[in-house]
């Protein structure tokens, strides 16, 4: 019922109930006169008295949010008379499950790509280093004629140096890759999710574990490589390690190789060359 005297028209609730819309009408701010369908949905599900009861049980500062949720719930019930908001919730759970499965599969695929890329880089670096060592030998180190087969045969005693070269590679790559995973982990921790074994946080924490092993082993390199103590290579190693951290891995390895070659004796040079000619792929 519209008011006389040019006053504002009744809200949709009072219009529906055919009563005078007083200024203190609780529902007027939330059911404007032009939204009759919204009010009808809310009235059909809750009823005016129940809505007013809910509003009166709340602080006035919460009325707006409460009415927003009531209208949303009523509209959803109007669209889906059987399941209402429960249907929406179930659908969202299903979406989350699908997304998590897809995310897990994509992470696995990304890990495969990363490992493949890493192996390719390692092989390229080792082959370039081997070329450098061989060229150094050819420049006047007077190696034996069967030098190359010797390099290939010297595998077992120098497994530690062999693994050492991979450790030289792994910290930098692991740091880069860990930063990638940590980014995802950071994104997860920013938005807390319910605990779930399949949650992205669980998946990524598991993925972090394989990357941590090379880092831990690289820290023990001083203890397991007395070879480098004898040749006083620690300083050059430390310099080369800094180089790995700052420059491209390929160039820094090349520089490190050259510095190491200059400081070693002949037979130790062969051992080092054998080390770099062998590929240790985990």
């Amino acid at each position: 019922m519209t008011l006389k005297g040019g006053a504002t028209s009744a809200c949709a609730a009072c219009k529906y109930q055919r009563r005078k819309c007083i200024p203190e009408c609780l529902l007027a701010p939330y059911f404007p006169a032009d939204q009759t369908k919204v009010f009808q949905n809310a009235h059909k599900l809750f009823g005016v008295s129940n809505i007013v009861k809910i509003l009166k049980s709340l602080d006035p500062s919460q009325h707006a949010e409460a009415m927003r949720s009531i209208k949303y719930q009523a509209n959803v019930r109007d669209r889906f008379p059987v399941y209402g908001c429960l249907g929406v919730i179930r659908h969202l759970y299903y979406q989350i499950q699908l997304l998590e499965e897809e995310f897990h599969a994509v992470l696995t695929q990304l890990e495969m790509y990363r490992q493949h890329h890493h192996q390719q880089q390692q092989q390229q670096q080792i082959s370039s280093m081997a070329d450098d060592v061989i060229s150094q030998l050819e420049l006047g180190m007077a190696p034996p004629t069967n030098a190359l087969p010797l390099f290939n045969q010297m595998t077992q005693p120098y497994a530690m140096q062999n693994s050492y070269s991979s450790y030289m590679d792994s910290p930098k790559d692991s740091v880069e890759n860990n930063s990638l995973w940590i980014q995802h982990l950071f994104l997860d921790t920013n938005n807390h999710t319910t605990s779930n074994n399949d949650s992205p946080i669980a998946i990524q924490s598991q993925l972090l574990l394989p990357n941590s092993e090379p880092l831990a082993d690289a820290q023990d390199y001083d203890e397991i490589h007395p070879f480098f103590d004898s040749i006083d290579d620690r300083q050059s190693y430390i310099e080369s390690k800094d180089a790995y951290d700052s420059t491209s891995s390929e160039e820094s390895l090349k520089d490190a190789t050259e510095s190491m070659v200059e400081n070693v004796a002949d037979n130790e040079l062969k051992s080092a060359a054998a080390c770099f000619s062998l590929t240790s792929v985990n």
């Binding site: 369908k37 409460a66 927003r68 509209n75 959803v76 669209r79 989350i96 897809e102």
Partner: protein, 167 residues
């Protein structure tokens, strides 16, 4: 009015409403006397008459599902009078958006690896959210199935809803 010893015990609805539970009581199949709180919540939030009308508008084979969904919504509203079950929808929608963005970012990394490029770690986590993603579009989840769920609850629209029923 003496109750016949052969009549069924009154359903939770009729017990709560203190009336005789007739054989054709619409509530009886869905509100057993062993679950009184279920009807109490539904009656408190929606009202028995509204529930009765809603059940009459629904096919008989769907009434049980309708009652269960109403009971769920009523219980949620009793526990959280401000948001009710819509609070759960909000949380889940945000989770879906976040997962979609992470998926987009990871797919982008795979594309880079496929083209033999090393993915550069972004300077901040926010850069991931700057990527183009398919998330966040209202009602976009089920476009293929043709069943479009309501738009994002998280869209702040303090002015209210339009008559189409979406936020």
């Amino acid at each position: 009015m003496a109750s016949s010893s052969y009549s069924n015990p009154p359903c939770a609805a009729c017990k709560c409403l203190r009336r005789k539970c007739l054989p054709d009581c619409i509530f009886a199949p869905y509100f057993p006397p062993e679950e009184p709180q279920k009807f109490i919540n539904v009656h408190k939030i929606f009202g028995a008459s509204n529930v009765s009308k809603l059940l009459n508008d629904v096919a008989p084979h769907q009434r049980e599902d309708a009652v269960n969904s109403l009971a769920y919504e009523a219980e949620a509203r009793v526990k959280d009078p401000v948001y009710g079950c819509v609070g759960a929808i909000s949380v889940l929608q945000r989770q879906v958006m976040r997962l979609q963005k992470e998926l987009d970012a990871t797919n982008a990394d795979i594309v880079r690896y496929a083209y033999n490029e090393m993915p550069q770690p972004p300077p901040a986590a926010a850069s991931h959210y700057g990527r183009r993603s398919t998330a966040g579009h209202a009602g976009s989840f089920d476009q293929n199935s043709g069943f479009c769920y309501p738009s994002q609850w998280n869209n702040n629209d303090p002015s209210g809803d339009n008559e189409s029923g979406s936020l």
